[in-house]
C-alpha cells in the first residue's frame, strides 16, 4: 500500500518498528534511519507480523508506506486483522499478487524495481517499504539477478529516505544465500522455534543492526491483543545457556571457523583498501603474502603455512570453501623466485557481496 503522508523531509525521528518491545531491544527508538532490515524465520512463526506493525506504525505517523507481497491483498488484510493490528485508513496502493493496484510479478525484477522506483519518486517525507516476497524472488530468479535486485532496491530506498523491511523464509534457501542476504541488509532479526526439554519456545534475537547496539540474547515472543510481547529467555532456566551462541551470524553462516573468518575479514579489508584507497585495479587489489597476513591478523604462521610447502589449516579451510584464491607472483623474492599470495575470491558472488558491503562506506565497488 502506498499512502502519501505529511511527514516532511528532514524529519530526523527513527522509524519505529511498531512493536514497543522490539524498539526497546534496538536501543529505544526503532530501526536505524534509512535502514534495510531483514526478518528471518521458518514458515508459521509470523515474521510477517513485524511487517504489519512496521507499516501500521508508519501510517499512524504519517509516513508513506509501500507494501509488496506475494499474497493477495485480501489475505494480508485478513492476517493483519487477525493480529488486531490497527490500520489507519488512507489512499492505498499495493504491489500484490491479487487485489492491488499493481500486480506483482516476481519473475520480472526490472519491472518490479521500476514500480517501486515510481512509488518512491512520487512520495514525500519518510517512506516505509515492506517486501514480503524476497524468498519467492530468490527462488524464481537467478541468484545474480536476485542479488542485483536487492542491491538496487536497498540503494533506491536509501536514496529516497526510505526504510525497508523484508522477510526471508528460513529453511528454503542454501545457507550461503541466506548469508548473502544477511550481509546485504543493514540488520536482521531472527524468529524461530526452539525445543529444549519438553518445552518449545518461539524465540527472537537481533542478529545485527547498523549503528545500533541492540540488547543481546534470545527473547521469547508471543502475539496478543496488546501486540507482540518479548520476554528474555533467561527466565527459562538453562535455556539461554544451552542456546547456540550467535555473537555474529556471519562466521557461522560462511561455514568457517573464527580464525578463518578473521583472516577472511583481513583479506576483505585489504581488497577494499587497495581498490579504493590505493586506487589499484580489480586485478591487482587485495593480494597479500601469508607472512604479512599472519603479522596483521595475529594468526600463527603454522595456521597459514603447512609442512613441506603446503597450506596451513586456516588456508585450507578458506580455499576449500572457495572464499579465497591464490596466485604465484614471480620475481618478487629478489632471487628470481616466486611468492604465493592470497586474496578474497572476488569473482564468487557471495564474496563479491561481502566485499561490496565492506566497501559501501565510501562509494560502491564495481
Amino acid at each position: 500500500m502506498f499512502i502519501s503522508g505529511p511527514g516532511g523531509a528532514g524529519n530526523e525521528r527513527l522509524p519505529s518498528s511498531g512493536v514497543p518491545a522490539l524498539d526497546k531491544l534496538l536501543g529505544g527508538q526503532g530501526f536505524p534511519d534509512r535502514s534495510a532490515v531483514l526478518i528471518i524465520g521458518p514458515p508459521g512463526v509470523n515474521k510477517e507480523a513485524l511487517g504489519y506493525w512496521f507499516a501500521s506504525e508508519g501510517l499512524r505517523l504519517g509516513d508513506s508506506c509501500l507494501y509488496v507481497t506475494r499474497l493477495s491483498v485480501r489475505e494480508v488484510e485478513k492476517d493483519w486483522g487477525s493480529l488486531g493490528v490497527a490500520k489507519t485508513p488512507g489512499s492505498e496502493i499495493w504491489i500484490a499478487r491479487e487485489g492491488g493496484q499493481t500486480k506483482l510479478d516476481v519473475r520480472d525484477l526490472p519491472g518490479l524495481l521500476g514500480q517501486i522506483r515510481a512509488v518512491l519518486e512520487d512520495s514525500r517525507g519518510q517512506v516505509r517499504i515492506v517486501l514480503d516476497a524476497l524468498s519467492s524472488i530468490l527462488m524464481l530468479n537467478s541468484l545474480d539477478a536476485a542479488y542485483d535486485f536487492v542491491d538496487s532496491l536497498i540503494a533506491q530506498a536509501k536514496a529516497h529516505n526510505a526504510s525497508l523491511l523484508a522477510t526471508l523464509e528460513e529453511g528454503m534457501h542454501p545457507v550461503k544465500t541466506q548469508t548473502a542476504m544477511q550481509q546485504a541488509f543493514d540488520g536482521f532479526v531472527e524468529m524461530s522455534l526452539f525445543r529444549t526439554g519438553l518445552k518449545i519456545l518461539p524465540l527472537l534475537r537481533v542478529g545485527k543492526m547498523r549503528g545500533a547496539n541492540p540488547l543481546q540474547g534470545y527473547y521469547v515472543f508471543s502475539f496478543g491483543a496488546e501486540g507482540m510481547k518479548l520476554e528474555p529467555a533467561y527466565g527459562e532456566g538453562e535455556i539461554e545457556a544451552s542456546l547456540p551462541p550467535f555473537p555474529d551470524a556471519a562466521p557461522a553462516a560462511l561455514g568457517v571457523g573464527a580464525e578463518a573468518r578473521a583472516f577472511f575479514d583481513y583479506l576483505t579489508k585489504s581488497f577494499v583498501d587497495d581498490f579504493k584507497a590505493n586506487k589499484l585495479s580489480l586485478e591487482q587489489s587485495g593480494w597479500r603474502t601469508r607472512t604479512a597476513s599472519a603479522k596483521a591478523t595475529g594468526l600463527t604462521i603454522a595456521a597459514l603455512y603447512g609442512e613441506g610447502g603446503r597450506f596451513g589449516p586456516v588456508m585450507k579451510e578458506l580455499l576449500s570453501s572457495g572464499l579465497v584464491e591464490t596466485r604465484f607472483f614471480p620475481g618478487q623474492r629478489g632471487r628470481g623466485g616466486e611468492v604465493i599470495k592470497v586474496r578474497v575470491a572476488y569473482e564468487k558472488e557471495l564474496v563479491k557481496r561481502i566485499v561490496n558491503d565492506a566497501g559501501r562506506g565510501g562509494g560502491t565497488m564495481p
Partner: protein, 227 residues
C-alpha cells in the same frame, strides 16, 4: 508392545499441541494440531476395536473409523493449505481452497452412510455385515476413499511446489505412517488378534507419526550442551 505404541502416540499428541501453541499462523497451527489429532485418533481406534468386540456393533465401529479418517483429512487439508503459503507462486493446488469443502462434505457423508448401512444390515438381517469390511476398500471403509485419494493426489503435488524443508519432512513422515497402516490393514479381526507382528508395524508407524510432529520444529537443543 501395545503400551509402547500408545505411549509414543500419547507423546506425539503432547508434542503436537505444544508446537501448535508456539506457532502463530493459522494454517501451520492447524497442521501441527492435525498430527496430534491423528495420534489421538489412533489411540482411540484401539478403543474402538474394543467397543466393536464388546458390543458387536459394526455401525459404531464404522462411525469411529470415519472419525479417524476425518482427523487424517483435517491434517491433509491444513497441510495443502500450509504448503500453498510456502509455494513461491502461491498456487492453489487442484483448486484446493474450493475443492476441500466438497471433500469434507463427502467424507462426512460417507462416514454416516457407511455407519447407517452397517446398522441397517445388522438390524434387518441379524448377521454381521462382514462384506462391508472385506479388504481395506470395502464399503465400510468408504470415508477413507476420499481421504486417501485427496492425500495421494493433492499432497505430493503441493509438497513438491512448497520449498519448505520442514513441511516436506512433516508430510514425508506422515506419509510413511499412512503406508505402514495400510500394510497392516485396519480390519477389526487382525488388530483384535493382537499379533506381535502387527503391533510391531504399528509401533514403527507411531514412531513415524512422532517424527512427523518433531520435524515441525527447526531447532532442537540438548540441555546444557551449549550447542
Amino acid at each position: 508392545m501395545p503400551f509402547l505404541y500408545v505411549a509414543v502416540l500419547a507423546y506425539t499428541v503432547y508434542l503436537s499441541i505444544t508446537i501448535r501453541r508456539a506457532l502463530s499462523v493459522g494454517e501451520y497451527r492447524k497442521q501441527a494440531f492435525g498430527v496430534g489429532l491423528i495420534a489421538l485418533a489412533w489411540i482411540l481406534l484401539l478403543l474402538n476395536y474394543g467397543v466393536q468386540a464388546v458390543t458387536g456393533s459394526y455401525a459404531l465401529f464404522s462411525l469411529g473409523f470415519g472419525l479417524v479418517m476425518m482427523t487424517l483429512f483435517y491434517w491433509i487439508d491444513s497441510s495443502v493449505l500450509a504448503t500453498r503459503r510456502t509455494d513461491p507462486l502461491v498456487r492453489d493446488t487442484f483448486w484446493w481452497t474450493r475443492v476441500r469443502y466438497v471433500l469434507w462434505a463427502l467424507t462426512v457423508a460417507a462416514t454416516f452412510a457407511a455407519a447407517s448401512l452397517a446398522y441397517y444390515y445388522q438390524a434387518t438381517s441379524g448377521t454381521e455385515p462382514l462384506f462391508m469390511f472385506n479388504g481395506q476398500y470395502g464399503v465400510g471403509y468408504m470415508p477413507s476413499w476420499f481421504v486417501l485419494a485427496a492425500g495421494v493426489i493433492a499432497l505430493p503435488v503441493s509438497a513438491s511446489r512448497a520449498r519448505d524443508r520442514l513441511l516436506r519432512r512433516n508430510i514425508g513422515w506422515l506419509g510413511a505412517f499412512v503406508i505402514l497402516i495400510q500394510i497392516v490393514g485396519v480390519e477389526p479381526s487382525s488388530v483384535a488378534n493382537s499379533q506381535f507382528g502387527i503391533f510391531g508395524v504399528l509401533f514403527v508407524a507411531s514412531l513415524c507419526l512422532y517424527q512427523s510432529a518433531r520435524s515441525l520444529v527447526p531447532h532442537w537443543i540438548a540441555r546444557g550442551t551449549g550447542n
